[in-house]
């Protein structure tokens, strides 16, 4: 792919699009200015907080809604209306509420992550076979221990899959959010490089970094799925 890229650029007449080598030089340039590391950390910081915040709220809410059918019936219309709204549509409101800065970006990631995580958790709880819940109660577990020792572990394999997909969404949203709501991070790098004199080598360098980090995140999440206590599904268990 890199070879095709190289030859395509070599043959093209456009002077704007960079070849692979100039992108590497661009990355080196960013490294020398200390910007690459700074921007990557800034983006990861926002993703981490937005994602963790969503996780902390969506999992308890999802457990409750999955358990109490009435709560789910009450929440479901709200969820279904808010869920299809792209997190990017929240950008103006995020800036209005939080100003330009980290908080706005974190809020946008939170919005992007919360609903997928909530829906995943509700479904995961719903899919727990009643025999497991019955067995938990039979062995004398109270409400808290039942959640910790049966509901969570039983829902976890599905939650991990949901978390992996959601983290992918978070990584998409952060780039978009950084293009508008903040002045650091990989998304800002891309917009800034274009605005500050058509530095398309840096634009593509930013894109390459986004892709690579996305890959690393996905590999980390996949390695979670290989933990033995998580490596089962109801399908193989049935």
């Amino acid at each position: 792919m890199i070879a095709i890229w190289h030859f395509a650029i070599a043959r093209s007449t456009s002077t704007l699009l960079p070849g692979p080598w100039s992108v590497v030089l661009g990355l080196v340039d960013l490294l020398q200015h200390g910007l690459l590391f700074k921007y990557v950390v800034a983006s990861l910081f926002r993703v981490t907080w937005g994602f963790l915040l969503a996780l902390c709220l969506a999992i308890p809410a999802g457990l409750a809604a999955g358990w109490f059918e009435r709560l789910d019936l009450a929440l479901n219309p709200i969820i279904q209306i808010l869920r299809p709204i792209s997190p990017l549509a929240w950008i103006p409101i995020a800036i209005l509420w939080f100003g330009v800065g980290d908080a706005a970006a974190i809020f946008l990631i939170f919005v992007g992550c919360f609903f997928p995580l909530l829906v995943t958790t509700i479904n995961a709880v719903r899919n727990i076979p009643s025999v497991h819940i019955q067995a938990g109660r039979n062995f004398g577990l109270g409400p808290v221990t039942l959640v910790m020792r049966v509901l969570l572990p039983a829902a976890l394999p599905q939650l991990i899959v949901g978390m992996r997909i959601t983290l992918g969404i978070a990584w998409l949203v952060v780039v978009a959010a950084e293009m508008i709501a903040v002045n650091s991070g990989l998304g800002f790098l891309i917009v800034d490089a274009r605005n500050a004199g058509n530095r398309y080598d840096l634009v593509v360098a930013g894109m390459v970094m986004i892709g690579l980090i996305g890959l690393v995140i996905d590999i980390c999440m996949r390695s979670l799925e290989r933990i033995p206590s998580l490596r089962w599904t109801y399908v193989e268990n049935a």
């Binding site: 019955q134 067995a135 109660r137 039979n138 004398g140 221990t145 049966v150 572990p153 206590s229 268990n237």
Partner: protein, 281 residues
Amino acid sequence: MHEIPGTNTFPALDVRGECLVGSVNEVTVAEECRKLEVSQLNTVFKRDGKDLSVLSNINLTVYSGEFICILGPSGCGKSTLLSTIGGFSTPSSGEVRIDGEIVSAPDPRRIFVFQERGVFPWLTVEGNVGFGLFKLSSTERQQRVAHYIRMVGLEGFEKSYPGALSGGMKQRLEVARALAVNPDMLLLDEPFGALDSITRLTMRTELLRIWEAEKKTVIFVTHDIDEAVQLADRVVVMSARPGTIQEIVKIDMAHPRDISSPRYLQLRDGISRQIGLAHGI
């Protein structure tokens, strides 16, 4: 009496003693040997606005240490009866008493055993057996876990996850998990239904061996006539819609039972006729 080296005997194992199987069928059974009393139990489900009578006027007394099979066609309410005894469902009227106390919620003193899918797939064999032992100290827990893993013959699989076990092994694991908390009663709901016929026969022998060693009161729901006659002290024959007790058949044969003896065949065919099955196919 079971002793694990270095520990006391398990509590509750030493209480019974006198109410063992042999005396159960005699006319005079001491009052305190009545383990379970179901009286005038009725259960009505609402289906599409209509009342559906699932259990109708069930009366049953089970004695301590007895092995009871509840036998009936599917849909006769036998599982509902068992889950009412377990405290998982509430009857519409009537009551279930265990040791004189009205049953209103599940309790670790009576453990429900499902088909093998009831084991927790996220825990190892050890983790499953120790699941209900959270109140014990860790050394005590380890000793009990090891004891029951040995009893059901799962040594060497302590660290395995249920996904790696066969159906019969998962079933034995679930029995071990139930026994580990030292319940007085085991409630088994068609536990061997999903196993192949050879494993099922082995599991019956295993269950009888464990029952004879542990002296638990066992209530075993099945739709298999042979299974009931092979295992039970008494077979409770139920009929469907509404579920009622048709007859309670005493199986007056000692274990191990010769399943080709005239008495066995007589009992089995008697129950078949009772259920309305003609002999021969």
